[in-house]
């Protein structure tokens, strides 16, 4: 069974204080690893897809990286508007098209 574990569950950062979120996964062949951002009371919003170890993607202050066992979401010089829950999910190469989600990293950036 595909499993995704995210840590830390919750993180409080001062504005400008860079940090990283971790997503550890086990899957029988990785088709893709996905990062989403979710604001309170809203649906998850797609951020990145990573397909193979060594791949990196960036968007504004966010950078996602991938190894064979985990992914990191680096937040550089965060701003209060980066406060959200970040969800990680994996999709297996074989079987159905379903995503297995982690429980999320809740990030609060304090001005």
């Amino acid at each position: 069974e595909d499993q995704v574990t995210q840590s830390p569950e919750a993180l409080r950062l001062q504005e400008g204080e860079s940090s990283s979120l971790n997503c550890s996964y086990t899957v029988s062949g990785l088709r893709g690893l996905f990062w989403y951002r979710q604001d309170p009371g809203k649906g998850p919003e797609f951020l990145f897809t990573l397909y193979s170890a060594g791949e990196e993607k960036e968007k504004e202050r966010l950078k996602a990286t991938l190894t064979k066992k985990e992914s990191f979401l680096h937040i550089t010089a965060p701003k209060p508007e980066d406060s959200a829950t970040y969800l990680c999910a994996v999709q297996a190469l074989y079987g159905n098209n379903r995503l297995a989600f982690g429980k999320g990293n809740q990030v609060v950036v304090i001005p």
């Binding site: 649906g43 998850p44 919003e45 797609f46 379903r98 982690g102 429980k103």
Partner: protein
């Protein structure tokens, strides 16, 4: 462009009452459709998914059912709500097996009282 609509945004229902949540997708054909429930501290729980009209797979035995009467319409229902059905319900769609992930709707906050 593809869009997904989910309604209502919030709903308060008494125990024992019926439920119907609707989700529609625009701008794509033959999408895979999903219903998730999100509870605090438990992450996203897949309830149902559908790969075509009338084709529904259930992930978790429960008080809920799903139907897909049209290609781009997905409905979540219950005949009699329980307190434990409270939560944030999300509809999502994807296309094929291309690894593009899911696109989510805006969600429905259901409170059963």
């Amino acid at each position: 462009s593809q869009t997904i609509h989910q309604w209502p945004a919030t709903l308060v229902q008494p125990v024992g009452s019926p439920l119907s949540l609707e989700c529609t997708v625009e701008g794509t054909s033959n999408p895979n459709l999903y219903w998730y429930r999100q509870a605090a501290g438990r992450g996203l729980q897949l309830l149902f998914y559908s790969v075509g009209i009338g084709q529904i797979s259930s992930e978790v035995p429960q008080n809920l059912s799903a139907s897909r009467p049209q290609d781009r319409q997905f409905i979540l229902s219950s005949k009699k709500l329980l307190l434990s059905d409270s939560g944030f319900y999300l509809c999502a769609w994807s296309v094929g097996r291309t690894g593009y992930g899911y696109t989510f709707g805006s969600g429905t906050r259901l409170t059963v009282v």
